[in-house]
Symmetry: C2
Subunit: 465 residues, 2 copies
């Protein structure tokens, strides 16, 4: 149940649990000022909460009868000039779990109820402070742990994406009115003059919906972190390389071939972009069952990675197995948009690069010594280029699965409309697809919502937001 009875005044702790200098308790609803007035005494005796001005702060005490609970600062935000659009009161108290609990108890005793997760933001949405995709951006903003995921969320919060969706809906509505015009004339059997105009409009819509949908593959990896797999034959220095990249000893490094059997995941932040490094068991032909599982997992990881770092040992005399691997990986990632980078390791063992490697390698290859941490920075730079070449311009990048699904369905409907136009289907049939497209786009910004949609969005919020 994610409708929020606007009659209720809700309260919650908005800061994390734990002992700290400050804790913040938030109250929203018509009774906020009345309820705080029952327990708060400002140091300025002439102050009453019912006469509080918006955006003012008041020092005083919260008490229950004779029992002094805390010295607090109370902020007032009057409707509609608040986060939720309702009267909001924020209590800044000492960051003691006991004090937070006692204040909440008093608020509830005087008529407030505990807020559900995300209920403050839900009310802000219901009061048209922002649309649904912006509300989702707030949750993403709070969860963002890298510059790029933060910037994606901030851009979505600023409403550029919402404006694009609204423009698409406007274009669909324009199409609808042109269609109605045609309907009016069609009975007179007059071929509608501007049928090409209609088709052109649909093609524009199709292209925009399609490009937004496609941006998800980038948006999702940027938000979640770009998956990078380090692979190669056993003992070529994969774990040593991962360690050099992470600059700390997290993966098991050993001289025994096949030691690293479990995929280890580690996260590296390069210039605000998160890369998820996946170390693998390597590509050696397995000699026992456990190793078979390791090799299978390696191929699974390769198929999921955006960048594959294939490591080989330049002191290796036989290049056939290396060529075999490169071909197999290239085959595996064909048409996936993934990128293969070859890493020639162990430059410390040789004075110069063996001739057979110069000939072998026609692809981008970085020669390093993982052991001595030489040229490892070139790998970081190469990884970063793989993001920048995908350049994040002014167009929106979607990173939300719900938006991706809605855009996919909208795309189907628009595609069906274009097909219908081609096949000169009846206006009635076209209208069904039109309504479907409008519906799916409307769910993104929340013009169309259901309890299910609201529930799944706001239940993922923090308490107190």
């Amino acid at each position: 149940m994610f409708t929020s009875n606007p009659e209720d005044t809700i309260c919650a702790v908005s800061t994390p649990p734990g002992v700290s200098a400050i804790g913040v308790i938030r109250l929203s609803g018509a009774e906020s000022r009345h309820i705080i007035g029952k327990i708060f005494q400002a140091r300025d005796k002439s102050f009453t909460s019912m006469n509080a001005q918006s955006h003012t702060l008041h020092f005083g005490t919260i008490a229950s009868g004779d029992e002094l609970i805390d010295d607090v600062l109370v902020s007032f935000f009057l409707a509609p000039h608040s986060y939720t659009g309702e009267d909001v009161v924020e209590i800044s108290c000492h960051g003691s779990p006991y004090i937070r609990r006692r204040i909440l108890e008093e608020l509830v005793n005087h008529g407030a109820r505990m807020a559900h997760t995300g209920e403050f933001t839900l009310r802000a949405f219901l009061n048209h402070k922002f649309d649904l995709s912006q509300a989702e951006a707030i949750a993403d903003l709070i969860a963002a742990d890298s510059k790029i995921s933060h910037d994606l969320a901030m851009s979505q919060l600023r409403g550029g994406f919402s404006a694009e969706i609204r423009k698409l809906r406007d274009q669909l509505l324009e199409f609808a009115s042109l269609l109605v015009l045609e309907l009016d004339f069609s009975e007179e059997d007059v071929e509608f003059a501007d049928r090409s105009r209609l088709m052109e409009l649909l093609q524009q819509i199709l292209q925009k919906v399609s490009s937004l949908k496609d941006s998800f593959s980038l948006g999702n990896v940027l938000k979640q972190g770009i998956p990078v797999t380090i692979t190669g034959r056993p003992n070529v220095g994969k774990s040593t390389l991962l360690n050099a990249l992470l600059n700390e000893e997290k993966a098991l490094v050993s001289e025994i071939p096949g030691t690293t059997r479990d995929a280890i995941e580690d996260v590296l932040n390069i210039n605000g972009v998160t890369f998820r490094f996946i170390d693998t068991a390597g590509l050696r032909r397995p000699e026992d069952t456990v190793e078979t599982m390791g090799v299978e997992r390696t191929w699974e990881k390769i198929s999921k990675a955006s960048v594959i770092l294939y490591v080989f040992d330049i002191s290796e005399a036989d290049t056939s197995s290396i060529l075999e691997d490169i071909n197999a990986i290239s085959e595996k990632i064909r048409n996936t948009g993934s990128r293969l980078v070859l890493i020639g390791n162990k430059t410390d063992l040789l004075i110069e690069l063996p001739h057979h490697f110069r000939e072998l390698v026609e692809m981008e290859t970085i020669f390093i010594s993982a052991k001595r941490r030489e040229n490892v920075n070139l790998i970081s730079e190469s990884l970063l280029r793989s993001v920048e070449s995908d350049k994040i311009g002014d167009t929106s990048i979607i990173s939300n699965l719900r938006h991706y699904e809605a855009l996919s369905k909208a795309l189907e409907s628009v595609t069906a409309m274009i097909q219908g136009m081609d096949e000169k289907r009846s206006t009635d049939l076209l209208t069904i697809d039109l309504h479907a497209a409008l519906h799916h786009l409307g769910t993104i910004t929340g013009e169309i919502t259901t309890d299910d949609i609201l529930g799944s969005i706001f239940s993922r919020f923090c308490i107190g937001k």
Copy 2:
């Protein structure tokens, strides 16, 4: 180094780490308004931070050049009307670790420095917003996890204790001036008229210092939780009783005598008072080394407990061992202020109380069935009475070890002064003890401080407080 250069503007996150709706970052010092002005743009374009009014709130954005960091609320508190007594700015941002870090970086880039733990409160103390014992009360208030420890801290924060210490110092200064008078006349060999007045004053001071010092034993157990030991012969139901009291299965319950070898500690909150329950290995004559250690530990626990619950089995025919235990415990706790409560367990096994127990027990005895959880509430009530009978009246109860130590030293000095008066020592000698007493009392409220004292107090604070 716990002097705080007042030229520095300091900043810190004041809310706990973690992802949440709101995070609060605090800035204090002369440059606060200047620094926030560099990164904060209010939605009201006419607003400038240098013209901000005290106790006002402003919505806007924090940015670094083109990079939008967050939508925030900024509060201004102008000197001296702030927590620290300096200009204070509080930034209420989204509770994202990334955003908190970025804002801190920007504040530091524009001239603030990261605050030490407790440095805001240290500045408040140095700016005479409160004295040292009140500053300590703030740390206690934040750490308080029960009503009684909260109330102790709140009472100390309100300054009653500080006032008592100041009064003691005033009385010592009064004594000093009377002593100087005597000194003036002494050369004329005139016996000073009011020597008895001097002695009376010292006795008053002695009594007050002594009673404050003695309140520590109560204050400390109230703050830390009152230690309660459950003891008795093996298999009389000690663990079952503890479980019944805790209303959950935390201690190991078994039919095998001597199973509970390790002391288990559990905490129970009864009407806002914390009791720390210590289950023991029991008092059986040990049959192996491990049990010997268990029994030794039991005696150690008994000597540290404020309340000893001695459990015996009323279905036991032989009462001699029980009498033996009761006598041994009574002997152990003589003059310690600890309390022994006898618990006759297993009323479920008998229809009525055997005659020999009626005769045996002259002390307070509670008959229960731990197994059926019958009359267990009578134990809770009895425990609570043991606190209330110690009644916490209007006099201060000290719960801080530093205060206890300072009072102990002051008591020694005052005792030495009385002895000196008795022995008609020279005024010069009396003055040495007088200065010592003034010094020790002064360290409590902070009239006298050293870097060491400030360091040990403020380093225990939260960051951002």
